[in-house]
């Protein structure tokens, strides 16, 4: 071999070593979401949302094996307020669920009204963003049933589920909200919801990660545009489908 190309190769090698080292330093140097990589990561998230919407099937279904045991008391309780959020009838009056927004006939439903609507009971998984899962039986009304009852308009492209747990809310794409396993649930494992699980009513669906399932529900608002959410606004994925 002639000497010159060999020298050129060594130069290229040192160049690559240098490039590799600086890339590693840049990556290690800042590792949080609010870093210089944020734009690239945000682009990837938008791309992933497109993929997730493509993968979404209306007929998809979460099934747990027959006879599988439910999580029961070990089902984690979770809320963002400092103390367990409880609806105080003395100051706030009787709890009602408002179903409104891009609809023809807005509704305000008492818990009693809710229980008189067509009811669904389903035992499904709960997928937490942290990586754990739990199983429970939920009884409630399909969000698609509520949508039918209020007569959603063409403007209803997203749904915001709002709560009385501080300012907690999460908005959903219409397809996931209209999935047949997406419920406004008022009972868990055969009992009315406890204070730790979102009483008097909450969203529950296996098609979204846990944090999208707003508890302590007060309003279901159909919207022409997405409205972010408590965790989505802090940097968690907005779509968060399973």
């Amino acid at each position: 071999m002639a000497e010159t190309p060999r020298d050129a190769r060594i130069d290229r090698r040192s160049f690559l070593a240098l490039a590799g080292a600086s890339a590693a330093a840049a990556i290690v140097g800042c590792d949080s979401y609010g870093s210089r990589f944020q734009p690239a990561l945000a682009t990837a998230e938008r791309g992933n949302e497109r993929v997730e919407r493509l993968l979404f099937r209306h007929r998809s279904e979460d099934r747990i094996p027959g006879g599988a045991r439910l999580t029961g008391n070990a089902f984690p309780q979770y809320f963002v307020s400092d103390t367990v959020p409880m609806w105080d009838e003395a100051t706030r009056g009787v709890w009602r669920l408002e179903v409104s927004g891009a609809v023809r006939r807005p509704l305000s439903l008492s818990l009693d009204d809710l229980t008189k609507l067509p009811r669904v009971a389903q035992s499904v998984d709960h997928f937490c963003v942290e990586g754990w899962t739990a199983r429970a039986q939920w009884i409630g009304v399909r969000v698609s049933e509520l949508a039918r009852a209020v007569g959603i308009t063409n403007d209803a492209q997203y749904v915001d589920f709002q709560s009385f747990d501080s300012n907690y809310h999460e908005s959903w794409d219409m397809a996931s909200a209209m999935h047949h396993q997406t419920l406004v649930a008022y009972a868990m494992d055969g009992r009315y919801l406890g204070a730790g699980h979102g009483a008097p009513a909450r969203v529950h669906s296996p098609v979204k990660l846990g944090y999208k399932n707003t508890k302590y529900l007060t309003r279901v608002v159909f919207m022409p545009a997405r409205n972010g959410g408590y965790w989505s606004d802090q940097g968690y994925e907005w779509y968060a489908g399973t």
């Binding site: 071999m1 590799g20 990837a44 979404f56 279904e61 999580t71 942290e130 489908g241």
Partner: protein
Amino acid sequence: MTLTKRTHWIVRVTHWINVIALPLMVASGLRIFNAYPAFARKGETFCCYPFAHKPIPAALTLGGWLAGGRHWHFAVMWILVVNALVYLGFIYLHGEWRELAPHRGDAHRAWEMIEFYAFRLKKHPHQGKHNALQKTAYFAMPIVAAIIVLSGIAIWKPVQLHWLTVLFGGYVWARYTHFVAMVLLVLLVLGHVFMVFAVDPYSLRSMVTGWYDEDQSPEARNARPFYHLLPRRKSLAAESHLPKV
């Protein structure tokens, strides 16, 4: 010096992309894992992970918090998947897969390598481009990687791709498979890197420039880990007629 062109540029580029992207993927995955460093479904026990609820040291993680780890993980996964498809497509179309696919007698040849490394054989077994242990490792890596990708998709989409999750035995086992296969891949990579530096550092040149000096191959040097790392006198002598650099 007997320089031969050994590593195609596509193999070199995909290799170095892996070197950068794989640590990012592992570190962000460990950050996600730390949000729940256990495998049991809530209220249940899990047979096969003795370190439950012991988080991975933060220094080994990437993303800062769970959401950050997830953003890294779900971005870098595309780089790695596309990179792997380019590599696999190339070695399939270009024929390099033949140098990695197992052949009759490989188990015997791998055992001979172990005997050689254990000083029970004096002479380095004859080999082609890779020795039988290397071949096994390089053949296993894409298979383990495929298991990681599939089990990863299974825990990303346990409802929409329910059938895939079921294939891994459900969400808990899919997540465990994802983790264990990652550990296996990391061990293969660490073994690979150790052997490169301990036995054949000259192969670094071929992974950068493509050129490899056959006179410095482990077989030519009769090299074991940390033995005969320097070029042998004979090959130096053979080179001595060349002008000094």
